[in-house]
Protein backbone atom coordinates (compact mmCIF):
# COMPACT_ATOMS: atom_id res chain seq x y z
CA UNK A 1 0.00 0.00 0.00
CA UNK A 2 1.62 3.19 -1.10
CA UNK A 3 -0.47 5.71 0.78
CA UNK A 4 -1.20 5.38 4.45
CA UNK A 5 -3.97 7.93 4.13
CA UNK A 6 -5.79 8.89 0.99
CA UNK A 7 -8.83 11.06 0.51
CA UNK A 8 -10.58 11.95 -2.73
CA UNK A 9 -12.79 14.99 -3.06
CA UNK A 10 -13.69 14.89 0.59
CA UNK A 11 -16.51 17.17 1.53
CA UNK A 12 -18.16 18.11 4.79
CA UNK A 13 -20.20 21.07 5.95
CA UNK A 14 -19.79 22.26 9.48
CA UNK A 15 -22.55 24.61 10.54
CA UNK A 16 -23.46 27.58 8.40
CA UNK A 17 -20.15 29.17 7.66
CA UNK A 18 -17.59 26.52 7.22
CA UNK A 19 -17.03 23.61 4.92
CA UNK A 20 -14.28 21.25 3.86
CA UNK A 21 -14.27 21.31 0.08
CA UNK A 22 -12.80 18.99 -2.49
CA UNK A 23 -10.10 17.69 -0.18
CA UNK A 24 -7.82 15.20 -1.88
CA UNK A 25 -4.79 14.45 0.21
CA UNK A 26 -2.28 11.60 0.05
CA UNK A 27 0.06 10.60 2.84
CA UNK A 28 2.80 8.26 1.61
CA UNK A 29 3.48 5.24 3.80
CA UNK A 30 6.42 5.62 6.11
CA UNK A 31 6.54 9.38 5.74
CA UNK A 32 6.26 12.07 8.34
CA UNK A 33 3.56 14.30 6.93
CA UNK A 34 3.10 17.76 8.34
CA UNK A 35 -0.41 19.14 8.08
CA UNK A 36 -0.13 22.89 8.29
CA UNK A 37 -2.68 25.61 8.34
CA UNK A 38 -3.82 28.61 10.31
CA UNK A 39 -6.32 28.20 13.12
CA UNK A 40 -9.78 27.55 11.82
CA UNK A 41 -8.63 26.23 8.46
CA UNK A 42 -10.22 22.85 9.08
CA UNK A 43 -7.30 20.76 10.28
CA UNK A 44 -9.04 19.23 13.27
CA UNK A 45 -12.20 18.62 11.27
CA UNK A 46 -10.15 16.78 8.66
CA UNK A 47 -8.48 14.66 11.32
CA UNK A 48 -11.86 13.74 12.78
CA UNK A 49 -13.11 12.77 9.34
CA UNK A 50 -10.04 10.60 8.75
CA UNK A 51 -10.66 8.61 11.92
CA UNK A 52 -14.36 8.19 11.46
CA UNK A 53 -15.32 10.50 14.30
CA UNK A 54 -17.28 12.59 11.83
CA UNK A 55 -19.25 11.43 8.84
CA UNK A 56 -18.19 12.85 5.49
CA UNK A 57 -20.73 14.64 3.36
CA UNK A 58 -19.15 13.34 0.19
CA UNK A 59 -15.97 11.89 -1.27
CA UNK A 60 -13.94 8.87 -0.17
CA UNK A 61 -11.44 8.15 2.58
CA UNK A 62 -9.01 5.25 2.86
CA UNK A 63 -6.71 4.80 5.84
CA UNK A 64 -4.12 2.01 5.91
CA UNK A 65 -5.79 0.67 2.81
CA UNK A 66 -9.23 0.37 4.37
CA UNK A 67 -12.32 2.47 3.70
CA UNK A 68 -13.56 4.89 6.31
CA UNK A 69 -16.08 4.96 7.90
CA UNK A 70 -17.03 1.34 7.25
CA UNK A 71 -13.84 -0.24 8.60
CA UNK A 72 -13.15 2.13 11.45
CA UNK A 73 -12.51 -0.29 14.35
CA UNK A 74 -9.94 -2.26 12.40
CA UNK A 75 -8.12 0.87 11.35
CA UNK A 76 -8.22 2.32 14.86
CA UNK A 77 -6.63 -0.86 16.19
CA UNK A 78 -3.49 0.05 14.26
CA UNK A 79 -3.67 3.81 14.71
CA UNK A 80 -2.42 5.90 17.57
CA UNK A 81 -4.44 9.07 18.00
CA UNK A 82 -3.58 12.13 20.04
CA UNK A 83 -6.57 14.47 19.84
CA UNK A 84 -6.44 18.22 20.10
CA UNK A 85 -7.77 18.33 23.63
CA UNK A 86 -6.95 15.17 25.49
CA UNK A 87 -9.97 13.56 27.09
CA UNK A 88 -8.71 10.99 29.51
CA UNK A 89 -10.69 9.90 32.56
CA UNK A 90 -9.67 12.31 35.30
CA UNK A 91 -10.50 9.96 38.13
CA UNK A 92 -8.01 7.31 37.10
CA UNK A 93 -4.35 7.31 37.99
CA UNK A 94 -1.65 7.19 35.35
CA UNK A 95 -1.15 3.46 35.92
CA UNK A 96 -4.90 2.76 35.77
CA UNK A 97 -5.24 4.75 32.58
CA UNK A 98 -2.44 2.74 31.00
CA UNK A 99 -4.03 -0.55 32.05
CA UNK A 100 -7.35 0.58 30.65
CA UNK A 101 -5.88 1.63 27.32
CA UNK A 102 -3.74 -1.50 27.03
CA UNK A 103 -6.82 -3.72 27.33
CA UNK A 104 -8.11 -2.57 23.96
CA UNK A 105 -4.99 -3.04 21.87
CA UNK A 106 -3.53 -6.45 21.16
CA UNK A 107 -0.34 -4.79 19.93
CA UNK A 108 0.35 -3.04 23.23
CA UNK A 109 3.97 -3.33 24.29
CA UNK A 110 4.37 -3.14 28.06
CA UNK A 111 8.12 -2.73 27.77
CA UNK A 112 7.80 0.44 25.72
CA UNK A 113 5.18 1.75 28.12
CA UNK A 114 7.57 1.24 31.03
CA UNK A 115 10.49 2.80 29.20
CA UNK A 116 8.47 5.86 28.31
CA UNK A 117 7.03 6.20 31.81
CA UNK A 118 10.57 6.39 33.14
CA UNK A 119 11.79 8.59 30.33
CA UNK A 120 8.95 11.07 30.69
CA UNK A 121 9.16 11.04 34.45
CA UNK A 122 5.49 10.19 34.90
CA UNK A 123 4.37 9.08 38.32
CA UNK A 124 2.11 6.03 38.02
CA UNK A 125 0.17 6.75 41.18
CA UNK A 126 -0.81 10.30 40.30
CA UNK A 127 -4.39 11.06 39.31
CA UNK A 128 -4.89 12.31 35.80
CA UNK A 129 -6.89 15.29 36.98
CA UNK A 130 -3.81 16.34 38.92
CA UNK A 131 -1.38 16.14 36.02
CA UNK A 132 0.10 19.30 34.56
CA UNK A 133 -0.51 20.12 30.93
CA UNK A 134 2.94 18.88 30.00
CA UNK A 135 2.46 15.60 31.83
CA UNK A 136 -0.88 15.04 30.16
CA UNK A 137 0.71 15.67 26.77
CA UNK A 138 3.43 13.17 27.56
CA UNK A 139 0.94 10.60 28.75
CA UNK A 140 -1.08 10.93 25.55
CA UNK A 141 2.03 10.33 23.49
CA UNK A 142 2.98 7.38 25.68
CA UNK A 143 -0.41 5.74 25.24
CA UNK A 144 -0.24 6.15 21.48
CA UNK A 145 3.31 4.89 21.14
CA UNK A 146 2.95 1.93 23.47
CA UNK A 147 0.16 0.69 21.21
CA UNK A 148 2.82 0.03 18.55
CA UNK A 149 0.70 1.56 15.81
CA UNK A 150 1.37 1.58 12.08
CA UNK A 151 -0.01 5.06 11.83
CA UNK A 152 0.08 7.95 14.25
CA UNK A 153 -2.38 10.77 13.86
CA UNK A 154 -1.40 13.70 16.04
CA UNK A 155 -3.58 16.78 16.26
CA UNK A 156 -1.54 19.64 17.72
CA UNK A 157 0.27 17.27 20.07
CA UNK A 158 2.66 19.88 21.42
CA UNK A 159 0.32 22.83 21.54
CA UNK A 160 0.55 24.69 24.82
CA UNK A 161 3.51 22.66 26.00
CA UNK A 162 6.72 24.28 27.15
CA UNK A 163 9.83 23.81 24.99
CA UNK A 164 11.39 21.22 27.27
CA UNK A 165 8.35 18.98 27.13
CA UNK A 166 8.01 19.54 23.41
CA UNK A 167 11.50 18.20 22.85
CA UNK A 168 10.87 15.17 25.00
CA UNK A 169 7.69 14.34 23.18
CA UNK A 170 9.19 14.79 19.72
CA UNK A 171 12.29 12.80 20.61
CA UNK A 172 10.19 9.89 21.77
CA UNK A 173 8.17 10.10 18.58
CA UNK A 174 11.24 10.09 16.37
CA UNK A 175 12.74 7.30 18.40
CA UNK A 176 9.69 5.20 17.65
CA UNK A 177 9.82 6.02 13.96
CA UNK A 178 13.39 4.87 13.70
CA UNK A 179 12.49 1.53 15.23
CA UNK A 180 9.36 0.89 13.25
CA UNK A 181 8.21 1.66 9.78
CA UNK A 182 5.31 3.83 10.89
CA UNK A 183 3.61 6.75 9.18
CA UNK A 184 3.10 9.95 11.08
CA UNK A 185 0.41 12.49 10.29
CA UNK A 186 1.01 15.51 12.43
CA UNK A 187 -1.19 18.54 12.29
CA UNK A 188 0.16 21.75 13.75
CA UNK A 189 0.39 25.46 13.38
CA UNK A 190 3.82 25.42 14.99
CA UNK A 191 5.66 25.51 11.73
CA UNK A 192 9.22 25.55 13.04
CA UNK A 193 8.81 22.28 14.79
CA UNK A 194 7.54 20.52 11.72
CA UNK A 195 10.31 21.93 9.61
CA UNK A 196 12.88 19.63 11.16
CA UNK A 197 11.02 16.41 11.09
CA UNK A 198 8.59 16.30 8.20
CA UNK A 199 9.40 15.03 4.77
CA UNK A 200 6.01 15.90 3.34
CA UNK A 201 3.82 18.88 3.90
CA UNK A 202 0.17 19.62 3.19
CA UNK A 203 -1.22 23.10 3.66
CA UNK A 204 -4.84 23.82 4.54
CA UNK A 205 -6.57 27.15 4.25
CA UNK A 206 -10.26 27.87 4.64
CA UNK A 207 -11.30 24.28 4.18
CA UNK A 208 -9.22 23.53 1.14
CA UNK A 209 -5.87 21.85 0.58
CA UNK A 210 -3.84 24.53 -1.11
CA UNK A 211 -0.51 22.73 -1.42
CA UNK A 212 0.91 19.25 -0.96
CA UNK A 213 4.50 18.36 -1.76
CA UNK A 214 7.79 17.09 -0.34
CA UNK A 215 9.11 19.39 2.36
CA UNK A 216 12.29 20.25 0.51
CA UNK A 217 10.36 21.28 -2.58
CA UNK A 218 8.15 23.50 -0.50
CA UNK A 219 11.05 25.19 1.24
CA UNK A 220 13.02 25.72 -1.90
CA UNK A 221 10.06 26.60 -3.99
CA UNK A 222 9.35 30.06 -2.72
CA UNK A 223 11.95 32.79 -2.68
CA UNK A 224 12.13 36.47 -2.07
CA UNK A 225 14.00 38.56 -4.65
CA UNK A 226 15.36 42.04 -4.14
CA UNK A 227 15.01 43.81 -7.44
CA UNK A 228 16.16 47.29 -8.42
CA UNK A 229 14.99 49.30 -11.41
CA UNK A 230 12.11 46.97 -12.06
CA UNK A 231 9.78 47.84 -14.90
CA UNK A 232 6.27 48.79 -13.93
CA UNK A 233 4.65 46.19 -16.15
CA UNK A 234 5.86 42.66 -15.88
CA UNK A 235 4.87 39.77 -18.10
CA UNK A 236 6.14 36.41 -19.28
CA UNK A 237 8.24 35.70 -16.23
CA UNK A 238 9.88 32.25 -16.22
CA UNK A 239 8.87 31.96 -12.58
CA UNK A 240 5.50 32.54 -10.93
CA UNK A 241 5.32 36.02 -9.48
CA UNK A 242 3.27 35.78 -6.32
CA UNK A 243 3.66 39.29 -4.94
CA UNK A 244 5.46 42.51 -5.57
CA UNK A 245 6.10 45.20 -3.00
CA UNK A 246 8.27 48.21 -2.43
CA UNK A 247 11.40 47.34 -0.56
CA UNK A 248 11.98 48.16 3.08
CA UNK A 249 13.84 51.44 3.33
CA UNK A 250 17.57 51.43 2.95
CA UNK A 251 18.29 50.81 -0.69
CA UNK A 252 14.91 51.27 -2.31
CA UNK A 253 13.90 48.92 -5.07
CA UNK A 254 11.29 46.23 -4.77
CA UNK A 255 10.78 42.89 -3.14
CA UNK A 256 9.31 40.15 -5.31
CA UNK A 257 7.96 36.90 -3.93
CA UNK A 258 8.26 34.18 -6.54
CA UNK A 259 7.59 30.49 -6.92
CA UNK A 260 9.47 27.96 -8.98
CA UNK A 261 12.69 29.94 -8.95
CA UNK A 262 15.79 28.53 -10.52
CA UNK A 263 19.24 30.06 -10.76
CA UNK A 264 19.41 30.53 -14.57
CA UNK A 265 16.33 32.74 -14.34
CA UNK A 266 18.68 35.56 -13.39
CA UNK A 267 18.94 36.24 -17.11
CA UNK A 268 15.36 37.47 -17.12
CA UNK A 269 16.25 40.57 -15.14
CA UNK A 270 19.03 41.59 -17.48
CA UNK A 271 16.55 41.21 -20.29
CA UNK A 272 14.11 43.74 -18.82
CA UNK A 273 16.76 46.16 -17.70
CA UNK A 274 16.40 45.46 -14.01
CA UNK A 275 18.96 44.43 -11.45
CA UNK A 276 18.60 41.37 -9.30
CA UNK A 277 20.34 42.32 -6.10
CA UNK A 278 19.63 39.34 -3.92
CA UNK A 279 17.87 36.00 -3.73
CA UNK A 280 16.61 35.34 -0.22
CA UNK A 281 15.70 31.89 0.95
CA UNK A 282 12.57 31.67 3.01
CA UNK A 283 12.21 29.31 5.89
CA UNK A 284 9.13 27.19 6.18
CA UNK A 285 7.17 29.72 8.18
CA UNK A 286 7.81 32.56 5.77
CA UNK A 287 7.10 30.34 2.81
CA UNK A 288 3.89 29.24 4.43
CA UNK A 289 2.81 32.82 5.08
CA UNK A 290 3.58 33.90 1.53
CA UNK A 291 1.75 30.93 0.11
CA UNK A 292 -1.35 31.76 2.10
CA UNK A 293 -1.15 35.37 1.10
CA UNK A 294 -1.28 34.48 -2.52
CA UNK A 295 -4.18 32.12 -2.04
CA UNK A 296 -6.19 34.70 -0.23
CA UNK A 297 -5.66 37.40 -2.80
CA UNK A 298 -8.55 37.59 -5.25
CA UNK A 299 -7.63 36.34 -8.68
CA UNK A 300 -4.55 34.46 -7.44
Amino acid sequence: MSNAIETKHLHRTMGKDFEIRDLSLSVPSGSIYGFLGPNGSGKTTTVRLLLGLLRPGGGSIAVLGRPIPSDVPRVLARTGYVPERPQLYGMLTVAEAMRYHAAFYSTWEERRAEDLTARFGLRPGLRISRLSKGETGKLMMLLSLAQSPDLLVLDEPTDGLDPVVRREVLSALLDYVSQRDATIFISSHLVHELERICDWVGVMDAGRLVAEMPMQTFKNGIKRLRVADAPSLVSDTPFVLLARETGDGLAGGEVWVVRGWQDPMKQYFEGVGARLREVVDLDLEEGFVELLRTFRKPGA
Partner: protein, 125 residues
Protein backbone atom coordinates in the same frame (compact mmCIF):
# COMPACT_ATOMS: atom_id res chain seq x y z
CA UNK B 1 29.52 18.73 16.51
CA UNK B 2 25.95 18.79 15.31
CA UNK B 3 24.82 21.83 17.21
CA UNK B 4 24.35 24.17 14.32
CA UNK B 5 21.91 22.21 12.20
CA UNK B 6 19.55 24.82 10.84
CA UNK B 7 16.25 23.67 9.38
CA UNK B 8 15.69 27.14 7.99
CA UNK B 9 18.71 27.09 5.75
CA UNK B 10 18.11 26.21 2.12
CA UNK B 11 20.70 23.46 2.41
CA UNK B 12 18.82 20.23 3.00
CA UNK B 13 19.17 18.88 6.52
CA UNK B 14 20.80 15.66 5.40
CA UNK B 15 23.46 17.67 3.62
CA UNK B 16 24.14 19.74 6.72
CA UNK B 17 24.56 16.62 8.79
CA UNK B 18 26.85 15.00 6.21
CA UNK B 19 28.86 18.19 6.05
CA UNK B 20 29.48 18.18 9.79
CA UNK B 21 30.78 14.64 9.55
CA UNK B 22 33.03 15.53 6.63
CA UNK B 23 34.47 18.45 8.61
CA UNK B 24 35.10 16.24 11.61
CA UNK B 25 36.89 13.66 9.47
CA UNK B 26 38.91 16.29 7.67
CA UNK B 27 40.03 17.90 10.91
CA UNK B 28 40.84 14.56 12.51
CA UNK B 29 38.16 14.82 15.19
CA UNK B 30 36.72 11.59 13.85
CA UNK B 31 39.31 8.89 13.41
CA UNK B 32 39.14 5.90 11.10
CA UNK B 33 37.23 3.05 12.68
CA UNK B 34 35.27 5.27 15.03
CA UNK B 35 31.50 4.79 15.03
CA UNK B 36 29.09 7.52 14.16
CA UNK B 37 26.06 7.96 16.43
CA UNK B 38 23.28 5.51 15.66
CA UNK B 39 20.52 6.72 13.38
CA UNK B 40 18.04 6.42 16.20
CA UNK B 41 20.11 8.34 18.67
CA UNK B 42 21.04 11.14 16.32
CA UNK B 43 17.51 11.56 14.99
CA UNK B 44 16.12 11.78 18.51
CA UNK B 45 18.86 14.14 19.68
CA UNK B 46 18.57 16.50 16.74
CA UNK B 47 14.82 16.02 16.53
CA UNK B 48 14.95 15.28 12.86
CA UNK B 49 13.37 12.59 10.76
CA UNK B 50 15.39 9.35 11.02
CA UNK B 51 15.16 9.09 7.26
CA UNK B 52 17.16 12.32 7.10
CA UNK B 53 19.98 10.80 9.12
CA UNK B 54 19.94 7.68 6.98
CA UNK B 55 20.19 9.83 3.88
CA UNK B 56 23.16 11.71 5.33
CA UNK B 57 24.97 8.49 6.18
CA UNK B 58 24.25 7.00 2.76
CA UNK B 59 25.61 10.11 1.06
CA UNK B 60 28.77 9.84 3.11
CA UNK B 61 29.05 6.18 2.24
CA UNK B 62 28.70 6.94 -1.46
CA UNK B 63 31.48 9.51 -1.12
CA UNK B 64 33.64 6.93 0.57
CA UNK B 65 33.91 8.55 3.99
CA UNK B 66 32.02 5.99 6.02
CA UNK B 67 30.92 2.41 5.91
CA UNK B 68 27.45 1.26 6.97
CA UNK B 69 27.65 -2.19 8.51
CA UNK B 70 24.35 -4.03 8.79
CA UNK B 71 23.52 -4.54 12.45
CA UNK B 72 26.56 -2.82 13.92
CA UNK B 73 26.26 0.76 12.80
CA UNK B 74 28.17 3.26 10.72
CA UNK B 75 31.94 3.59 10.95
CA UNK B 76 34.50 6.05 9.65
CA UNK B 77 36.71 4.74 6.90
CA UNK B 78 40.33 5.54 6.52
CA UNK B 79 40.32 7.84 3.52
CA UNK B 80 43.98 8.69 3.70
CA UNK B 81 45.76 11.96 4.29
CA UNK B 82 45.48 13.17 0.72
CA UNK B 83 41.74 12.86 0.67
CA UNK B 84 41.48 14.60 4.03
CA UNK B 85 43.53 17.50 2.79
CA UNK B 86 41.34 17.69 -0.29
CA UNK B 87 38.30 17.86 1.96
CA UNK B 88 39.87 20.60 4.04
CA UNK B 89 40.55 22.50 0.86
CA UNK B 90 36.89 22.15 -0.14
CA UNK B 91 35.72 23.36 3.27
CA UNK B 92 37.99 26.39 3.10
CA UNK B 93 36.75 27.21 -0.37
CA UNK B 94 33.14 26.98 0.70
CA UNK B 95 33.82 29.29 3.59
CA UNK B 96 35.48 31.81 1.30
CA UNK B 97 32.62 31.64 -1.17
CA UNK B 98 30.13 32.37 1.57
CA UNK B 99 32.21 35.26 2.80
CA UNK B 100 32.54 36.79 -0.64
CA UNK B 101 28.80 36.47 -1.24
CA UNK B 102 28.11 38.26 2.01
CA UNK B 103 30.67 40.91 1.11
CA UNK B 104 28.95 41.49 -2.20
CA UNK B 105 25.65 41.93 -0.36
CA UNK B 106 27.26 44.63 1.70
CA UNK B 107 28.77 46.28 -1.33
CA UNK B 108 32.38 45.42 -0.44
CA UNK B 109 34.92 44.48 -3.09
CA UNK B 110 37.14 41.39 -3.11
CA UNK B 111 40.24 43.57 -2.79
CA UNK B 112 38.93 45.09 0.45
CA UNK B 113 38.11 41.72 1.84
CA UNK B 114 41.59 40.44 0.99
CA UNK B 115 43.21 43.41 2.74
CA UNK B 116 41.15 42.78 5.84
CA UNK B 117 42.12 39.11 5.73
CA UNK B 118 45.80 40.02 5.62
CA UNK B 119 45.44 42.32 8.58
CA UNK B 120 43.54 39.80 10.63
CA UNK B 121 45.80 36.85 10.01
CA UNK B 122 49.04 38.76 9.77
CA UNK B 123 50.10 36.30 7.04
CA UNK B 124 51.61 36.84 3.66
CA UNK B 125 48.87 36.16 1.13
Amino acid sequence: MFDLIDPRSPTPLYDQIADRVRMAIASGDLRPGEPLPSVRRLAANLRVNPATVVQAYRTLEAEGFVEMRQGSGTFVKDVGAARRDEERGDQARNLVREMLAEAARRGLRAREVLAALRDETGAEA
